[in-house]
């Protein structure tokens, strides 16, 4: 009896405590046109109800990104006294996992980095459109709309090409970008004959896919820098309609044959143990002559105190066309405001996005990413600025070559006309398979077709 009395007393205390627990205030109503707001969920943190805007940024261990974040936060907090910008540090490859778990718990941060996830986020009503005057105010070219709407901030001109060690290439008499793939391969042969390591290539992680994907972008698509022409459907659209396949496409076949030849000849044994970090170490250390990689590597030259002279060249064509850079900048990738930002927070989230174009912030953004500017109305910002010799040389060379050779969108045409998410991962795995000895091009491209179809099954 005594025992059960105690138990009932405990139950009564627990019920009493539950009844006295503070109630969560109702969220402010969402603005008209916005999707259903995400409810507060576990892990929201005490600061959530305060004057705090949580922002996802892939700072990681990159010094340039940290500097950009610090300046961005300072600019926002100065312009919005009493408000704080809180960093949610998420790595590029962890974006999907992080957002999906936060969506499940109804707790997306107010401003998020979208990477290539904009479509999924927009389709499922997690981000809200930005007004057009947001872009025009800073002189940004309007990104191609998705279902009539624009969601993401725009950074600068991100180009994909190849970084070369100028001194090593000059030692074989090559000082200008090769005119086509065969000329490029001949250069690599000469470098190898001289005892130099011609190519940096790591196949342990996502870098494995880079030569293949860059060359597919540069060769499978027409050289158009403007909006996609509606009467000329891209390879992406033809592939989605079943009117083209990688296995049946002669250009895709040639690209894969060339890439297999490239890695077969120059990748070297044990390359499956190497990834981006090993590649960076080799190339920055001056041990290798060429690294097919995006322009962001220029942003790491100064923090890594690279002394080698680095040039940035366009991608050679396997089709006899002129070399060209690929750009993904017309896509809506950047930061977007989520449906978690309701009431006053929505205006402040927009202020966070506007602070990106504060001159000091934008300058550090371009420096960190080694990007050429696209915002024309940001006072005093004309491009990445640095006194570091290698970084300065890289930026000057890239700017001159972009002007001379131009850019193409490749498969990065618009959110409605882009590769399925996860397809790059399939390309990475395909290249790893190549390195284990599989060289059957039609079979490999058939696997790529299957991977494309599988990736498209996700809505």
């Amino acid at each position: 009896m005594f025992c059960s009395a105690r138990i009932w007393a405990c139950v009564a205390v627990a019920v009493l405590l539950g009844a006295c627990a503070p109630k969560t205030p109702p969220a402010s109503p969402a603005p008209a046109g916005a999707a259903k707001p995400a409810a507060a969920g576990p892990g929201a943190g005490a600061a959530k109800g305060d004057r705090v805007i949580r922002v996802v940024r892939n700072v990681g261990s990159r010094e340039g990104f940290q500097k950009h974040w610090d300046a961005w936060k300072a600019a926002f907090e100065k312009a919005n006294p009493g408000w704080t910008m809180e960093l949610v540090n998420v790595g590029d490859s962890a974006g999907t996992e992080f957002y999906q778990s936060r969506i499940a718990s109804g707790d997306l941060p107010e401003v998020i980095q979208t990477w290539n996830l904009t479509k999924h986020l927009a389709d499922n009503g997690h981000i809200v459109p930005l007004p057009d005057d947001y872009y025009t105010k800073f002189g940004l070219p309007l990104p191609t709309p998705y279902k009539g709407k624009r969601y993401a901030t725009m950074g600068g001109l991100q180009v994909l090409g190849m970084a070369v060690n100028r001194k090593l290439w000059a030692s074989i008499g090559v000082t200008e970008p090769p005119r086509n793939f065969d000329e490029f391969a001949a250069g690599l042969d000469k470098l190898a004959a001289q005892g130099a390591r011609p190519l940096t290539y790591g196949a342990k992680d996502w870098c494995a896919s880079v030569p293949l994907t860059f060359l597919l972008h540069a060769n499978l698509y027409p050289y158009t820098t403007g909006d996609p022409e509606p009467d000329k459907p891209s390879f992406t659209l033809l592939r989605d309609q079943g009117k083209a396949t990688f296995a049946a496409d002669p250009v895709a076949n040639r690209v894969l044959e060339k890439v297999i030849g490239l890695v077969g000849k120059y990748a070297g044994k044990g390359v499956l143990s190497d990834g981006y970090d090993e590649g960076k170490r080799d190339f920055y250390g001056g041990q290798s002559a060429t690294w097919i990689m995006g322009c962001w590597i220029g942003g790491d030259l100064e923090p890594n105190n690279v002394s080698a002279e680095v040039a940035y060249w366009p991608l050679p064509s396997v089709e006899g066309r002129a070399p060209i850079f690929v750009t993904s900048s017309s896509m809506q990738t950047g930061w977007a405001i989520t449906t978690s930002a309701v009431g006053e927070k929505q205006a402040k989230a927009l202020a966070v996005c506007e602070a990106l174009y504060d001159p000091a912030v934008y300058q550090l953004w371009l420096n960190g990413e080694a990007m050429l500017p696209t915002a024309t109305k940001v006072a005093g910002v004309t491009g990445p600025k640095t006194e570091h010799v290698a970084a300065k040389g890289f930026v000057a060379d890239m700017a001159a070559n972009v002007k001379k050779y131009g850019t193409t969108r490749g498969g990065y045409r618009s959110l409605e006309d882009q590769w399925p998410q996860g397809f790059e991962d399939a390309c990475m795995r395909l290249m790893q398979t190549v390195l284990t000895g599989e060289k059957d091009v039609p079979k490999l491209l058939g696997e790529l077709d299957k991977a494309w179809d599988d990736a498209r099954k996700s809505k």
Binding site: A104, H120, L272, S273, D274, D425, R429, S458
Partner: protein, 334 residues
């Protein structure tokens, strides 16, 4: 009557929270996982409201299939596709490829079963032999046993990273040691070679968990009455005879426990693969767990991933039941 009711209430108070937690965090998600396996959920749509579930249940109560389905789809945030995911799984070569023995071994199911077989054999019989040997150690018993148990104390991340560094082709300690011994021709890409990766992953699992399984056997060995050994000694039994006639039969309960635990370890092999090979080269070290993760995280196909999970659950349960039944029968015979 009153007393029984009171006892029931007391039981409810004590067991209720545990049952509620189990329902909320084990049974509920398992049922939801099965439900998601019948949808095309990408993982990007948010969960529905309780009112959606209410609408679904209301539809069911009214025998209104349309309303029930609409309510279910709203609650799950996905479109109902029936058994389409299971039909796709039947022809998925990454999950199971029956074209050849090599193709099967390199599919997620084949690779997982291969690793599981190695793990079950090692942790069931290898650990038993090791325990019997350790039981005979008379000096520095704690230190010797501790050395074997130590890797189990390390976090899975630490031990996997350790193997990642050991197995690196250019910088790894194994290849460095081989080069130092003049055996450069034996150097391998231990974690990314299709030939060696399965064995390296197995070595990692064995190194990490052998101590734990051995400890279970050691505990059982300590419980064997000393007079049985004395009687065997009087009969002139040697170590092998003692093992066969005394230790092995009395270790059978632990054999059952260890083999089931090892089976679960093998089928659920995941973390080691994430850290070391990420399923590579290609998809050749995809385990079932890693494939589910890959589908959900990279391909945004949580519905399909849920269907794969359910099939794996059924597979694991079936194997465990067969294994437990067979071992119990053997135990009774002995």
């Amino acid at each position: 009557m009153k007393r029984r009711r009171r006892e029931s209430l007391v039981s409810l108070v004590f067991c209720g929270p545990a049952i509620a937690l189990y329902l909320a965090f084990v049974i509920g998600p398992a049922l939801l996982g099965f439900a998601y396996g019948l949808t095309d959920w990408s993982g990007w749509s948010g969960g529905g409201q309780a009112s959606d579930l209410g609408a679904a249940l209301g539809g069911l109560a009214r025998l209104d299939g349309g309303a029930a389905r609409a309510g279910c789809e709203a609650f799950l945030g996905a479109k109902f596709v029936g058994l389409a995911n299971y039909a796709e799984l039947a022809h998925d070569p990454v999950f199971a490829n029956f074209q050849s023995v090599t193709a099967f071994r390199r599919s997620a199911l084949g690779f997982t079963l291969f690793e599981t077989l190695l793990i079950v054999l090692t942790f069931t019989f290898g650990a038993m032999v090791l325990a019997v040997l350790l039981d005979r150690v008379k000096h520095r018993v704690g230190l010797v046993r501790g050395l074997f148990f130590y890797p189990f104390v390390l976090s899975l991340l630490v031990s996997s990273l350790l193997f990642l560094y050991l197995g690196n082709y250019r910088e790894g300690a194994i290849n460095k040691a081989l080069a130092w011994m003049g055996l450069s021709a034996w150097q391998q890409d231990w974690l990314m070679s299709p030939t060696w990766a399965p064995w390296t992953i197995f070595a990692l699992v064995a190194w990490t968990s052998m101590g734990f399984f051995t400890t279970l056997y050691l505990a059982n060995l300590q419980a064997i009455p000393e007079d049985l050994y004395e009687a065997a000694a009087l009969d002139g039994a040697g170590p092998l005879a003692v093992f066969r006639a005394i230790q092995f039969p009395l270790l059978m309960p632990t054999v059952l426990t260890n083999s089931v635990l090892a089976l679960i370890n093998g089928i659920n092999l995941f973390g080691q693969v994430v850290v070391t090979t990420q399923g590579g080269p290609g998809t050749q070290t995809f385990t079932l767990g890693y494939y589910i993760y890959h589908l959900g995280r990279l391909n945004n196909r949580q519905g399909y991933a849920s269907a794969v999970s359910f099939v794996v659950f059924v597979l694991l349960a079936a194997i465990a039941i067969v294994q437990a039944t067979a071992l119990r029968r053997r135990q009774v015979e002995l």
